[in-house]
């Protein structure tokens, strides 16, 4: 798996540089959106969406999730789903009181 990638040295390091640059660009974007109050009432969703894109970049390229097997990806999905449903079910109480 990772053996092939390591044998092409330039690509390996360069990939990390691009990912880092993209992360910083997204950071600037998210601050801009907030400061300029663009998107107004959607800004919470917007900033969380951008945060998720950033998290996805870290997962895929720094944590190599893309190279992991189905097992690890499936497990991550399970964990995220568990958290999501715990929060959702709690809201079924809090929001409807």
């Amino acid at each position: 798996m990772n053996a092939e990638r390591a044998s092409r040295p330039e690509t390996a390091y360069v990939r990390y540089v691009f990912t880092w640059a993209l992360l910083l660009a997204l950071l600037i974007l998210t601050i801009a959106i907030a400061k300029l109050s663009l998107l107004a009432s959607y800004s919470v969703i917007g900033s969380l969406f951008i945060a998720t894109v950033k998290a996805g970049l870290v997962l895929m390229y720094f944590m190599h999730l893309g190279h992991e097997g189905r097992i690890v990806k499936g497990m991550l999905l399970l964990a995220v789903a568990a958290l999501f449903f715990i929060i959702a079910l709690t809201f079924s109480d809090v929001w409807f009181r």
């Binding site: 945060a51 720094f62 097997g69 189905r70 964990a79």
Partner: protein, 212 residues
């Protein structure tokens, strides 16, 4: 060579013949899931209370120091970059580069904590801290916002500190050759932990500094 043992019925994980690289990685991912649920409980509280007090959370975020928060975010993102480089380097046998990158990551981590310290000190010297009279005199939404701020960034900060210690240990191991081109799983797992800590901050930043 490790195989995906779950698509084939014949498996032998190499327990007889040395370390199981994939197994150790899976173990680390499982640990990160526990951390996800641990922080998740705090995010649950944040989301419930924000839904109840949107105006106060908005006001609280405006009072945060956006410059320091942005610098901290940049610092952590860059530290993820350096630790990823450190692992790539050791896998290609570049021991010195790996050690420099690990050192950079440690310094970024310490920088993050120092900035955090200034942010906290500013608040505390203004009389804003859990159970302070000033805080208790504020509205309920404000009390919740600042309590969540201290608890979530505090527990996150503890995790950053643990990460800094862990990477320091890895640095020593790399120097001594215990972490090397042929035996790097411990560094890689430490990197995974560090990236997770970065991801938590990626969410904390908008929630405390940018909600508008």
């Amino acid at each position: 060579m490790e195989r995906n043992s779950d698509t084939e019925s014949i498996v032998h994980a190499g327990a007889e013949s040395g370390i199981d690289y994939t197994g150790k990685k899976i173990g680390m991912w499982l640990f990160l899931f526990t951390e996800l649920l641990f922080f998740g409980g705090m995010f649950l509280l944040y989301s419930v209370y924000r839904a109840q007090y949107p105006a106060e959370f908005h006001a609280g975020a405006q009072e945060e120091n956006l410059l320091l928060g942005s610098i901290n975010t940049t610092v952590l993102l860059t530290s993820s970059f350096t630790i990823a480089l450190a692992i790539a380097a050791i896998r290609r046998g570049s021991r010195t580069l790996s050690m420099y990158m690990q050192l950079m990551t440690i310094l970024f981590g310490i920088c993050f904590l120092i900035i955090k310290y200034f942010e906290w000190s500013a608040k505390i010297s203004n009389g804003i801290y859990p159970d302070s009279q000033l805080l208790l005199d504020m509205g309920k939404g404000d009390i919740l916002f600042f309590s969540l701020y201290f608890v979530m960034t505090g527990i996150h900060g503890i995790h950053v500190l643990i990460g800094v210690v862990a990477i320091s240990i890895m640095l020593v191991y790399t120097w001594r050759g215990a972490v090397s081109k042929n035996s790097f799983i411990r560094l890689e797992n430490t990197g995974l932990y560090w990236h997770f800590v970065d991801i938590v901050w990626i969410y904390l930043f908008p929630l405390f500094y940018l909600v508008t």
